[in-house]
């Protein structure tokens, strides 16, 4: 559990960080909270010769809510997500989800940027960002570009981000009134056996726009458009619920691991989604 030697860099702005990444190529990696990367280095599963610590970069900090857009700097910690009053009113699902990540110690260190950039299908923020239809802001040697969260995740640990690009911020609009983040895990500090993010906008007596995203049930987060669509126009009754679950089950592709066999995960995914829909609908 001791990593090989590495060079440590601590740039003060995004441009210098990008420059180091560009110079060192794939021998360099960003360090955010370190709570995914450092364990990998200690296990010698990630060989990193140059570690580019992003913690001094002011432009990657802070949460703002202006003119209908919420912006979260990539270096904002999960703990800050939980304690932010601005988020609590504009996007309470973030707090609900962040409280279910790991444990307080991890949340003091782990960042929202690291959580999504890592591309680990076990992480909770990617699915959540897909449900929110968030935009990821990247900075590379060629300047800035935006990628939609729903387009970002390609496979386990593979994302649309290029090696020499940095994720600087995430933006999204305030979400629907009906929301829920539901997660089953084996114990504190564990990744999800199955988790569901659900947002439901009420349109009169029925559900209007509804979104569903699932976590740790495929090699990427699963934004299930069909599951959301199955709820739209319904009163989220048992029938609609079943249709949404069936649609979701078509989209996920879990694998067996210590959390259990595929059959079990599929069953739990259904239960978790139904609980999330019920809670979101109650709040809608």
């Amino acid at each position: 559990m001791i990593p090989p030697a590495f060079e440590y860099h601590r740039p003060q702005d995004v441009a210098s960080a990008v420059q180091i990444l560009a110079e060192q190529g794939d021998e360099a990696r960003c360090l955010a909270g370190g709570h995914s990367l450092i364990p990998m280095m200690k296990l010698r599963m990630a060989a990193v010769e140059h570690l580019v610590d992003l913690q001094d970069i002011a432009e990657m900090q802070g949460i703002t809510t202006e003119s209908g857009t919420i912006r979260i700097g990539a270096m904002v910690t999960q703990h800050e997500l939980i304690t932010s009053d601005a988020l609590a009113s504009a996007a309470p699902i973030i707090r609900e989800a962040a409280l279910q990540i790991a444990d307080p110690q991890v949340r003091y260190m782990g960042t929202v940027g690291g959580n999504v950039a890592n591309g680990d299908p076990g992480n909770d923020m990617p699915g959540l960002m897909q449900a929110l239809d968030a935009t990821f802001h990247l900075h590379g040697p060629d300047g800035a570009r935006d990628v939609a969260a729903r387009e970002f995740f390609e496979a386990a640990y593979m994302t649309a981000r290029e090696d020499e690009e940095i994720l600087t911020a995430i933006t999204f609009a305030p979400h629907a009134k009906g929301y829920a983040y539901e997660k089953q895990k084996r114990k504190i500090g564990d990744y999800a056996t199955a988790a569901a993010a659900v947002l439901i906008e009420k349109d009169g007596m029925v559900a209007g726009n509804a979104t569903v995203a699932m976590t740790n049930l495929s090699d990427t987060p699963v934004f299930s458009e069909a599951a959301g669509a199955a709820l739209t126009g319904t009163s989220c009754d048992a029938h609609a619920m079943k249709a949404a679950i069936d649609a979701m089950l078509n989209d996920i592709d879990p694998t067996e691991d210590n959390r259990g066999p595929v059959e079990f995960k599929r069953h739990v995914a259904g239960v978790i989604l139904s609980r999330a829909i019920s809670r979101a609908w109650d709040r809608a």
Binding site: M1, I2, P4, A5, R44, D103, Q184, R186, K187, I188, G189, D190, Y191, T193, N258, R259, G260, P261, E263, F264, H267, V268, V271, I272
Partner: protein, 805 residues
């Protein structure tokens, strides 16, 4: 003139003797980060060792190339089996009469096995150098299943002569270690064959690991000038380590000093001798510099001693009315690659034959087949006496299964089969003499406390509601009445590597009336410095706060067999009381001289000897101590010291009644423990608060084992649960509230009647949690589902019973 104040009550209170909930004296340093653990030992010029470990569970080692590693600046040495062979240290004896490779000799037999030992100037270089050692492996077929091992042509232990007997008799197959039997086989089979009711079940107690928070490690320092070896380490039995180190190394025992400093939990994991200890010693001898070796978490989980892994096939018979008539058990015991169990020599399956439990069973038989597989060696008593947890789990599951067979309430079935109070001392069918007990009283108290009848009614209603589709949660009531066997043990039948399992205490009273006492045991969190001082306080009248307890340094402490198997209080605690009594006997002579009366005219009163009938005439222990050193007393040697080596006449048999009430979500497999009631009877209670702490800790470990903790392997012998992400260690979040309670049935043969408690909660807790899970599904016909009862396994149980529609 003697001062009559303070009052007797005040003096008793000041003593903080037996029965006082005195605060733990150790905690000030632990809670302030001022403990001194092995990794805190830092010596000038100290080198650091690390292991190259096998990635394969079974492979031939064709070659090892150390050149690249040696070329790394800062690397001092890379040891392989070839280097240890001239010293005959490439293999070492195990505590179970087998031998074990120190470094891979021709092949590897489990994943994580030690292949080469790298010694470097710092810990980082050592880790880097490990990666540079090139080992050429040829993979061999892997066996992780003990039943398959006994059928397979693959020979795991090529070093053992085919057909030759092992340490415990004939081996019937090349992967077989021993068959150990106790009881009357034929008579038991006859009873069962002709019984009115028989329940039969395979009960598996899965492989898990003690996982102490502090991993194992050692620092060896060979002083070549004086020929002295000092060894600091995580040793639960430092004196035995000294003797073994002397026998293995040829260094005379007086030239070896073994020190167990503070130990961050042992739970059986730190009883055995590990390759790391041997390699650090050899490396220090070779380099002439101190060498430190500290495991990381993955090393610890993968390579050091596991616990359990017992497949227990049981048959229990009874009359139609539920009176048990016989018990038959055959165990297939997976010992891994080497037989490295830590059991008394004559008991290769430990005290598993306590498996008749709390019940009066007229005839019984146990047979245990030990088997080699491609898994880590071990088989230690994880917070229990030797294989007692397995035994308790077995009988408490069999009772539940029998209750189903009889269609009877499991609490009632237990009640009609308990050994009765007036049957003690009780001879069990498998050869033990239970010292004392009052099971019915404890049982009734427990059932009353939880309103057992009310719970059953609620459960019935719940099942009905579930069947009507009104709830998806079931209610389980987990019952356990366990009997432990601890305090190994009488030297006539208990030894480890030939050393009798007595223990010891040496006391010195200082002239001003304070004292130091040293014992052959070693605390790993049990609080010996607190509780042993209390025993002495009550025996000698010196306040516990004025007594220092020291353990773990073989140069200063008297020889003892260490701390495991809940033996410290039963054995060393007894030695402490006996040594205290020797002090008091001498003190009485001195007091008689000082008071100018005959010895027999004095009586003991809390902290002093008083002239009978003249309460104003007395001498306190402090006054007596002063006189012992400063006054010439005819016929009495100066000084006030005593030593006692205690060979217990029998084991002690703590018992308890536990009830666990659990809610189970049949859809997700999640559980919630609504109530846990634990009644423990550990005989005389030395410190109720320490007992409560021990019970909370033991129950939490039991919760872990029953509900999620395991060392799991895949078919290739890869450890699937090698980090704390997958190996379950409960935190406050998963831990329920516990209600503790007690009855007090002293041991008749122990000087203060104490029996030991540290392990009871694990022994009784595991079946209580597991029975709760089973009980929740009893109405749907569940007889047996294997632990750990994690989410997916509970879900699978529900699924197999058709509860998911």
């Amino acid at each position: 003139m003697n001062d009559m104040s303070p009052t007797r009550e005040e003096r008793v209170e000041k003593l903080k003797g037996l029965g006082s909930s005195r605060k733990r004296v150790e905690d000030a340093r632990f809670t302030q980060g001022k403990g001194n653990y092995v990794d805190d030992v830092k010596l000038p010029g100290m080198l650091h060792g690390d292991f190259v470990r096998s990635p394969y569970a079974h492979a031939r080692v064709k070659s090892i190339n150390i050149d690249a590693a040696m070329a790394l600046p800062g690397v001092i040495a890379v040891l392989t089996a070839k280097d240890l062979e001239p010293l005959s240290l490439h293999w070492m004896p195990t505590l179970a009469g087998d031998k074990q490779m120190v470094l891979a000799d021709g092949k590897v037999l489990f994943q994580g096995q030690e292949v080469a030992f790298v010694v470097a100037e710092d810990r980082y270089i050592a880790a880097d150098a490990c990666e540079l050692v090139e080992v050429d492996y040829e993979e061999l077929p892997v066996i992780v299943d003990p039943f398959e091992a006994l059928e397979s042509d693959t020979v795991l232990r090529e070093d053992l002569e085919a057909g030759a007997d092992g340490a415990h008799g004939p081996r019937k197959h090349h992967n077989h270690i021993f068959l150990w039997e106790e009881g009357e086989k034929e008579a038991t089979e006859q009873v069962i064959d002709s019984a009115e009711v028989v329940a039969e079940e395979m009960v598996y107690y899965h492989r898990t690991h003690p996982c102490p928070l502090e991993t194992c490690g050692s620092v060896a320092s060979m002083d070549k000038v004086n020929g002295k070896l000092t060894l600091w380490g995580t040793f639960q039995a430092p004196h035995v380590v000294r003797t073994v180190a002397s026998l293995l190394s040829g260094i005379e025992e007086h030239n070896i000093r073994v020190i167990s400093p503070d130990i961050g939990g042992g739970f059986g994991n730190k009883v055995g001798v590990y390759p790391g200890y041997v390699c650090s010693i050899v490396a220090s001898i070779v380099t002439g510099q101190p060498v430190k070796w500290i495991e990381d978490r993955m090393d610890n989980l993968m390579a050091t001693a596991f616990a359990r892994d017992y497949w227990m096939k049981g048959k229990i018979s009874a009359t139609k009315e539920g009176k048990i008539t016989g018990l038959h058990c055959h165990v297939t015991a997976d010992h891994g690659a080497f037989d490295a169990c830590a059991d008394p020599t004559k008991f290769p399956a430990g005290f598993f034959h306590i498996c008749t439990g709390s019940y009066d069973i007229p005839v019984a038989y146990v047979g245990v087949d030990g088997v080699y597989t491609n898994k880590a060696p071990g088989g230690v008593a994880y917070r229990c006496s030797f294989r007692v947890t397995e035994a308790a789990y077995f009988i408490e599951r069999m009772i539940e299964v029998l209750a189903m067979e009889l269609n009877m309430d499991a609490a009632e079935l237990r009640r009609i089969n308990f050994i009765k109070k007036d049957q003690f001392p009780y001879q069990s069918a498998l050869g033990w003499e239970f010292d004392s007990g009052d099971y019915h009283t404890a049982w009734d108290k427990a059932l009353d406390a939880v309103d057992y009848a009310g719970l059953r009614k609620e459960q019935e209603e719940r099942v009905a509601a579930f069947k009507r589709g009104e709830t998806r949660k079931l209610l389980g009531i987990g019952l356990t009445h366990f009997t432990e066997i601890v305090g190994a043990g009488p030297v006539k039948n208990c030894d480890i590597l030939g050393m009798g399992m007595f223990d010891s205490c040496e006391i010195r009273i200082h002239p001003t009336g304070s004292a130091v006492a040293r014992l052959g045991t070693i605390s790993q969190g049990q609080g010996h410095a607190t509780t042993f001082a209390q025993i002495l306080a009550s025996e000698t009248g010196i306040p516990a706060d004025s007594i220092t307890i020291e353990e773990g340094d073989t140069d200063t402490a008297p020889y003892g067999l260490g701390t495991y198997g809940s033996r410290s209080t039963p054995v060393a605690g007894a030695a402490t009381a006996m040594a205290g009594r020797k002090i008091r006997a001498k003190a009485q002579m001195i007091a008689a001289y000082l008071l100018e009366v005959h010895d027999n005219d004095l009586e003991w009163d809390v902290d002093r000897f008083v002239v009978k009938g003249a309460p104003e005439r007395f001498k306190t222990m402090a006054e007596i101590a002063y006189a012992a050193y400063n006054q010439a007393i005819p016929g009495v040697e100066p000084g006030l010291e005593a030593v006692s080596y205690y060979d217990p006449p029998n084991m002690t048999y703590p018992f308890g009644a536990y009830v666990c009430v659990m809610e189970i979500d049949v859809d997700t497999g999640e559980h919630e423990i609504r109530q846990f009631y634990a009644l423990d009877d550990c005989g005389t209670r030395i410190n109720p608060m320490v007992i409560e702490g021990q019970v909370h800790g033991g129950l939490t470990e039991a919760l872990a084992i029953a509900m999620g903790q395991e060392i799991a392997y895949d078919k290739l012998g890869n450890v699937k649960t090698g980090t704390l992400m997958d190996f379950f260690l409960p935190t406050a979040w998963e831990t329920p509230n516990y209600t503790t309670d007690f009855t007090e049935t002293p041991s008749p043969h122990h000087p203060i009647g104490a029996k030991g408690v540290g392990e009871s909660p694990n022994v009784g807790g595991v079946p209580a949690f597991s029975n709760a899970v089973h009980d929740a599904f009893r109405a749907f016909g569940l007889r047996q589902s294997h632990m750990p009862h994690d989410h997916w396994r509970i879900w699978k149980t529900a699924n197999d019973l058709g509860l998911h529609g």
